[in-house]
Symmetry: C2
Subunit: 77 residues, 2 copies
């Protein structure tokens, strides 16, 4: 994959980090996935190693957990 | 300031995140500060809101704590 993927859950910490990441990387370099509207992708994120949101999965597959908004357990509810 | 500043302390988590951040943003967009060799800048980082390393301070002053390597208390020893 050539884009990073930013996973979040709409929390305040997530939205703030989303703005920063898009500003730093450029909107064309980041796919934003909001679990609140796209629960189908939770499994994919967990498989990639996402433990909490917001998180950025880089093109080479590394996971950067950025600040802390919510655990994946919270996301799954 | 126009560059982001990446603060770290040489830990494994820090070095891995440094590679990712430089790869994502470009080396010319990030100033890297290693507290192990530059303790004089610890106070500046704390003033900016850095609580743990690795952390990225964006050009607009937001702090992104990325994964978790060490607390600032650990950094100061």
């Amino acid at each position: 994959m050539s884009k990073s993927i930013f996973y979040h859950a709409g929390c305040q910490v997530c939205v703030s980090a989303e703005h920063d990441i898009i500003s730093l990387l450029g909107a064309d370099k980041v796919e934003v996935v909001h679990f609140g509207t796209n629960k189908a992708r939770i499994a994919e994120a967990e498989k990639a190693g996402v433990k909490s949101v917001p998180a950025l999965v880089t093109p080479n597959g590394n996971v950067l957990h950025i600040n802390f908004g919510a655990s994946m357990a919270d996301v799954k509810g």
